[in-house]
């Protein structure tokens, strides 16, 4: 039963990714060509509203469903990993026109060829896991 709520939030997320058109390869092209505010608007509103939300959750020492105080784990200060890994992901994002969330949503649209991209992402993850100790972080 605990998992049902995550299933429902996921359904909502898939609808949002579709109706926002964030799953569109064409919208991502438009973003990387700086020819529309659309994607910047979506991410910008999410970041600003999210920042306000996180500020108040911290300030009010808000609790989650089971009564624990909500905390936020800082991202690791691995700047080399951020810039190198981030750049590689950016290459893949512009090639496929999809980041990980939209990849799953697109499968739900019936674009089964996207499963090939996901399978390839899993291989990329495996190779990263194998090479991790040799890469700068």
């Amino acid at each position: 039963m605990r998992l049902i709520r995550f299933l429902l939030i996921g359904v909502l997320f898939g609808i949002i990714m579709t109706k926002s058109e964030a799953i569109s390869w064409f919208r991502i092209q438009e973003m990387f060509r700086f020819q529309s505010f659309h994607m910047y608007g979506i991410i910008g509103v999410a970041v600003v509203l999210g920042a306000v939300m996180i500020y108040f959750l911290k300030k009010n020492k808000s609790q989650n469903l089971i009564g624990d105080q909500i905390t936020f784990t800082p991202k690791a200060n691995t700047y080399k990993a951020s810039i190198f890994g981030g750049t590689l992901f950016g290459l893949g994002w512009a090639m496929t026109g999809a980041c990980p969330g939209p990849l799953y949503t697109l499968v739900g649209h019936g674009y089964l060829v996207i499963l090939v991209i996901i399978a390839s992402a899993l291989i990329g993850t495996l190779v990263y896991g194998a090479l991790r100790d040799k890469l700068p972080h």
Binding site: F6, I9, G10, V11, G14, I15, I16, K19, E21, I23, W25, F26, F32, R33, Q35, H38, G41, I42, I43, V45, A46, V48, G50, A51, M53, L57, L65, P74, K75, Y79, S82, I83, G85, G86, T87, L88, F89, G90, L91, G92, W93, M95, T96, C99, P100, Y104, L106, H109, Y111, I117, A119, S120, A121, L122, I123, G124, T125, L126, Y128, G129
Partner: protein, 196 residues
């Protein structure tokens, strides 16, 4: 106009951004966080990668909520593409249409048979897996997404939204990386790849 017709139109960016924050809040309230690319790790762990590679030797059951969330998002995609389908294909700016036509991409708002504008159908299909550009875009692109997000420790959701909203400097650096990569492909590599 019925409610279903109303929400079936493409959403304004401000509504979409606010709805993403709602998802982020719900995940936090239920004790989790908003970050999709961790799912790649969890799936590798389920597949038994932990027996060979220490990095994957973790209890994937801690990520069962994320995998369930993503199954939900697939269902959500199915609902959105049928019950909530927009009457028109995705409409992008005139400038982007012209740029894409110039490099030989068929744009749905110009060519109605080219689909609804989520993926370029002539590039992303099983037959094009037998072409060099298809292999680079799908197999190569997918590999870079997996390798890159795990190296960077997050993707658009974990770094660009959750990380920036929590004022994390490593996330800002990662987002700069996302754009370096995205701009290189869009402005330099894509025209070359599409000409192969």
């Amino acid at each position: 106009m019925s409610f279903i017709e109303f929400i079936s139109q493409p959403w304004h960016w401000s509504i979409s951004g606010a709805m993403i924050v709602l998802v982020m809040y719900l995940l936090i309230y239920f004790g989790q966080k908003f970050g999709v690319s961790s799912s790649f790790e969890a799936i590798c762990s389920i597949g038994g990668a932990g027996r060979k590679i220490k990095y994957f030797n973790v209890d994937w059951r801690r990520q069962d909520w994320l995998l369930t969330f993503l199954v939900g998002s697939i269902i959500g995609g199915g609902i959105a593409s049928t019950l909530l389908a927009s009457p028109e294909p995705v409409t992008i700016s005139e400038a982007t249409v012209n740029d894409l036509l110039a490099i030989g991409v068929i744009v749905p708002q110009v060519e109605k048979t080219a689909g609804v504008g989520f993926i370029p159908l002539e590039l992303f299909n099983f037959e094009s897996l037998l072409t060099i550009k298809g292999i680079i875009l799908m197999v190569g692109g997918g590999f870079l997404i997996g390798f890159g997000t795990r190296w960077a420790g997050g993707c658009t959701s974990g770094h660009a939204i959750s990380g920036l909203a929590n004022l994390q400097l490593p996330s800002l650096v990662a987002v700069i990386g996302f754009f370096i990569g995205g701009l290189i492909v869009t402005h330099f590599l894509l025209p070359i790849i599409l000409s192969l």
